[in-house]
Amino acid sequence: MSAAAKVSPARKIMQDGLWTNNPIFVQVLGICSTLAVTNNLRNTLIMVLGVTFATAMGSLTLSLLKDLIPRKVRMIVQVLVLSFYVIIIDIVLRAYQPAISKQLGPYVGLIITNCILMGRAEAFAASNPPGLAFLDGIANGLGYGWVLMVIATVREFLGFGSLFGIRIMGDGFTPWTIMVMAPSAFFLVALALWIANVRKARVAAAAEKAAKGGKA
């Protein structure tokens, strides 16, 4: 009996979303709409929560509807359901946080075309029960979210010397202008990807060594 067989499906889903199958590390999915706002922690947090909400609710809805949707129009139904939730996010933001909504501009609407949403709807929700699909949406949203929050922390700290808009560094600190601009986001995602790949390779090598040692 291996340890993997005992893990409950819910736990496995969380593990997959947060690390093993993390949407950013494994496929670099869905970074388009959110990288643009990662020079500011508060905006990133809101975008991440929006993506998590839309993915989880979208997966739940599509899993409930999966037997009712004819195969031929599945894609367009998925897009319509997802855009419904994104519209809710947009309206709520506009009503309660008009300043942030203005700063985010088109990027809230662009959650619709975030590949993670469609990816999870197609890969998981279309063939799994609603409860698990909801959990899978949350796990993937958070797995995507923590990586972006780390990137946003680095960018805001080095770019403005602040965190969540609160100044941390004194007046002597020279902001790294590059961190505010687009190129740094690409560099930081690449760096995060590199670290994740190296760690995964190490874990795999250790597991192989352990397996060999067990046999001998």
């Binding site: 388009c32 643009a36 088109p106 609407g109 075309t113 986001a185 690409f186 560099f187 990807l193 670290i195």
Partner: protein, 200 residues
């Protein structure tokens, strides 16, 4: 009818290609950009397709926005309507190309339907709505942004042709990692244009 920003069409066109390149400055359409740029010919096909789709949809969506959505006061439905318009335009373009130029249709292959979910298309339309462009500006901005995306993917595909054969890249960075770093350098190079045309 609308208070369009006073921007010359030529400078708007150049700005949307160089200074505010949809991909390198606004991160739009990164997913397909990374996966397709492995192959030079596919990049060419996708670049042409994206340019056509963005140009046409921004014209159609401008008309839909100012003649349907605004008069009816249903701005809250605009995301859904734009997505449906994009899907419709892509479908129609597919049928027209298939009818008149089967060779181009074969070359574009699966890329046309994929464009529906390319964030660059929806992104350009939402920018067009937020910046309140008038009709000529919307069309120029649409084609310019598409051309900028096309230019970026061709540049990256040419660089990757040499880069992917390079064995000096660390194992953990191979493939996507080094591609992202390359895009970062391209973005830095394009930042250099920003002093030339100061148009948002």
């Amino acid at each position: 009818m609308i208070d369009a920003p006073s921007v010359g069409l030529v400078s708007l066109f150049l700005a949307s290609i160089l200074t505010s390149n949809v991909l390198l400055a606004n991160f739009l359409g990164t997913c397909s950009f990374i996966s397709i740029s492995k192959d030079f010919r596919s990049s060419m096909g996708l670049g042409i397709a994206v340019t056509m789709v963005i140009g046409i949809t921004s014209a159609v969506c401008w008309a839909v926005l100012y003649f349907v959505i605004k008069p009816l006061g249903i701005e809250y439905l605009s995301f859904i309507i734009f997505i449906i318009v994009i899907a419709g335009v892509v479908q129609m373009l597919e049928m027209i190309i298939d009818r008149f130029s089967p060779s181009l249709y074969m070359a574009l292959g699966i890329f046309l339907p994929l464009i529906t979910v390319n964030c660059a298309v929806l992104g350009v339309i939402l920018f067009m709505q937020i910046r309140k462009y008038n009709f000529p500006q919307a069309v120029v901005f649409g084609f310019g942004s598409g051309a900028g995306w096309w230019l970026a993917i061709m540049l990256l595909a040419s660089i990757r042709k040499k880069l992917d054969a390079n064995t000096a890249v660390p194992a953990g960075l191979k493939g996507t990692g080094i591609t992202l770093i390359t895009i970062g350098f391209m973005a830095m190079a394009f930042v250099g244009f920003s002093g030339m045309i100061a148009v948002q």
